[in-house]
């Protein structure tokens, strides 16, 4: 890079600076810009290779892979691989849907109420409550696995959907409450005052005024929670026994074990298992990103 010349003088003379700026634009800018674009494209390519390789492999035949190598274009497109993988994954996909949707809905309801109270009400211990919730969002799953496993067995809930739903709601509460609290903080307080003057109860104000205005935060939260809960692996492993109750993340592992060196089928399985969250991500990327930047350290 050719910064040295410009670095020597330190912007005291504005005219000189402007002159230098135009010089830089004419000679340096195109080179720098060009190399920046090149570097960015290269990084993007490297970043995309795993996805591309998986997609390519999923529609090939085994002889094609062994003869032509993994990076050649497929000699024939075996779309049937994906269909077969889908049919085999169906019980797991079904389980994931049954687990994820109520978990997301439950998390949102609980978090909206708690976030509303924390953000809009004055009460003793409020900042402590907030501190506890922030801290809990960092609690590793490892310190809850054993007792929850035991508790669910004691309650006769081992290998059920309901145990997984409860646990997901529990795990997501701290983060979701945090997001809702932060969001309600940005809603003007006059809304609540107006409601109170009209004699509305706290519950009515919450239901009629605050829930409707929370829509932007909710859509971001829904997309994030859906992805996180759908993608969970450990609870699915620990809390289930039979195939019927296992989520698709566990399914992909047994799928891999079953097909071992049938790369095309393993890749197809991965594609099928990834489609729901990928679709949600691509469709709602804006919400997803907004949610991530609303103060999250998860991912």
């Amino acid at each position: 890079m050719t910064h040295v010349t410009t670095e020597m003088t330190n912007g005291s003379d504005a005219a000189q600076a402007i002159d230098r700026g135009s010089l830089r634009e004419r000679f340096e800018e195109p080179v720098v810009r060009g190399s920046q674009i090149l570097l960015l494209l290269l990084l993007a390519l490297v970043f995309f290779l795993p996805v591309m390789g998986t997609l390519l492999t999923s529609v090939r035949t085994i002889p094609d892979i062994t003869q032509n190598g993994a990076w050649a274009l497929p000699s024939t497109y075996e779309w049937g691989n994906l269909g077969r993988a889908f049919i085999e994954m169906l019980p797991y996909l079904r389980a994931s849907v049954i687990i994820t949707l109520p978990s997301v809905a439950g998390t949102l309801m609980v978090a909206m109420m708690a976030g509303y109270a924390l953000s809009r009400m004055q009460f003793r211990g409020r900042i402590w409550m907030f501190l506890v919730i922030v801290s809990l969002s960092f609690v590793p799953i490892h310190t809850q696995l054993i007792p929850v496993f035991r508790l669910m067995s004691d309650l006769g809930l081992h290998d059920t959907f309901i145990s997984q739903i409860i646990v997901h709601i529990m795990r997501q509460i701290p983060f979701a409450v945090l997001i809702m609290t932060n969001f309600f903080n940005t809603v003007p307080g006059e809304l609540r005052e107006a409601g109170r003057i009209d004699g509305a109860s706290e519950w009515t104000i919450f239901r009629r005024i605050y829930v409707p205005v929370a829509r932007p935060a909710l859509s971001a939260l829904i997309v994030l929670e859906f992805t996180w809960i759908w993608n969970d692996l450990l609870w699915g492993l620990v809390l289930t026994q039979g195939a019927g109750k296992k989520p698709v993340t566990v399914g992909i592992l047994s799928f891999e074990g079953e097909y071992e060196i049938a790369w095309n089928m393993v890749a197809s399985g991965a594609v099928v298992a990834a489609i729901p969250t990928l679709a949600v991500f691509l469709a709602f990327q804006k919400h997803f990103i907004r949610g991530m930047t609303m103060g999250s350290v998860k991912g």
Binding site: N10, A70, L145, I146, T293, K298
Partner: protein, 291 residues
């Protein structure tokens, strides 16, 4: 409705669910870690700190601890520096912005199960995507046994870093977008060089974003259980185990609940130490908001 009771009524569902299924288990884990409980059938007997004492002499545990250290160091450096580079490049070139961004964000949508399975066969000897790529580029010399005892930890970290980079890129891009463009223009007019502008203006203003990216990297590196489980199952010969994975193995494969709980406690304490500054910052910001 009683005004003093109302907030707690709104908080009740969250407190009940988390209390029973989240908070109470945390205390139980501490209690179980002081026993020699095996499996769920019967409670173990009290052994004091014996499990913790045993851990100090446990070669598998110490090895997993060492690997977790490698994870933390690599995870702080690799994804974050890659992400800030990508974010700056995207911001400055605007080249195909949204499509390019999607490419970089995409791994965020994938579960560790899928990342693990996909990268597992990327690393497969000879037929895997990586070896195939190196061969077609004429770089056979670089090939090592990616998931062998020497390289496995780093290979798994690379896979996880792929996903973590996506997260950090999101965070840094948001941070960069929050910097007023006039500030940078003004610095340029004043004759500031790219390097000066980056280190003196952009980097300090990226502090909130950096805090998030760094905390996230720390937490993911400390736990890292799912990706190790799916890619190597800690192997070969335990060489790529991390602390979180050890906890899972001792508990749900060896059924040593007391011992596993002790590891769980240690993982939790390590996380707590790392996130305290972050938590305090958030609380302070909130108090300012409310006052």
């Amino acid at each position: 409705m009683n005004a003093r009771l109302t907030p707690w009524l709104f908080l009740m569902p969250a407190i009940l669910i988390y209390g029973i299924f989240g908070a109470y288990p945390i205390f139980q884990t501490f209690a179980i870690s002081l026993t020699d409980q095996v499996g769920v059938a019967a409670p173990g007997k009290f052994v004091g700190l014996q499990n913790y004492a045993d851990l100090i002499g446990d070669a598998y545990f110490l090895n997993s601890l060492k690997n977790t250290g490698i994870w933390v160091i690599m995870f702080l450096i690799v994804p974050n520096s890659l992400a800030i580079t990508i974010a700056l490049l995207v911001k400055q070139t605007f080249w195909g912005s949204s499509l390019i961004k999607t490419v970089f964000f995409l791994p965020l949508a994938l579960s560790f199960a899928i990342v693990g399975v996909v990268w597992g066969w990327i690393y497969e000897p000879d037929v895997g995507l990586l070896d195939q790529l190196l061969i077609s580029l004429g770089l056979e010399g670089l090939i090592v046994e990616w998931l062998g005892p020497d390289a496995a930890t780093y290979s798994v970290i690379a896979a996880a870093a792929w996903r973590q980079t996506a997260f950090a890129t999101v965070v840094f891009l948001a941070g960069l977008s929050a910097i007023p463009q006039e500030l940078i223009e003004a610095a340029k007019v004043d004759g500031g060089t790219r390097r000066q502008i980056f280190f003196r203006i952009m980097l300090p203003l990226l502090k909130p974003a950096s805090t998030i990216a760094v905390s996230s990297a720390l937490i993911h590196a400390l736990l890292a259980t799912e990706i190790v489980l799916t890619m190597t199952e800690g192997g070969p010969f335990g060489s790529s185990e991390v602390v979180g994975y050890r906890m899972y193995m001792e508990t749900f494969w060896n059924y040593k609940f007391g011992y596993g709980a002790a590891i769980g406690v240690i993982v939790t304490l390590m996380t707590a130490i790392m996130v305290v500054p972050y938590v305090l910052r958030m609380a302070k910001a909130q108090e300012r908001d409310w006052s």
